[in-house]
Symmetry: C2
């Protein structure tokens, strides 16, 4: 999907992300929006998806797919590695 719309969840105010997703579905008429997050922002990504589908766009948008994954990352020059989890939540118009 070349034109997949992706919203990355970070530490900006919560409603920024909710508004960004909602606007893609409303003013941009998107059929799908992919919400992505890593590490501690995973819980927030779930919150964003839930608020969009249950509060702002209830009966219009639902969860189409959820994927979790992880990767090992080098955290220092000594070769220590740390696993970081990721989540992808695909919201789609009903």
């Amino acid at each position: 999907m070349a034109d997949q719309i992706v919203i990355y969840i970070g530490n900006k105010p919560f409603m920024n992300y909710v508004t960004a997703v909602v606007m893609q579905f409303t003013s941009q008429d998107a059929k799908e929006v992919l919400i992505k997050a890593r590490g501690r922002f995973i819980a927030r990504a779930v919150d964003v998806a839930e608020v969009v589908r249950k509060k702002f766009l209830s009966d219009q948008v639902d969860i189409s797919k959820i994927k979790i994954d992880s990767e090992e990352r080098q955290v220092d020059q000594g070769g220590k590695k740390r696993r970081v989890s990721t989540i992808e939540i695909l919201l789609a118009k009903k």
Copy 2:
């Protein structure tokens, strides 16, 4: 599924949960284990699932289903409500 094994993720040491899940698959010979978490423990539930399937039981266990949901809860007597997200990650033997 009456005999569904469920591990709830909270604030105990991380490896407690990993060990609990791994032991269900190994010594208890479980076919499936359901990992559940709420709120800020959602990111941790993803971490537990990822460490089990990629590190401890790689090639033996994989993610079979992921579900997210949320519920509104009364937080005080004044009637204020707060949405709390939940996640369920079903791990299954390959």
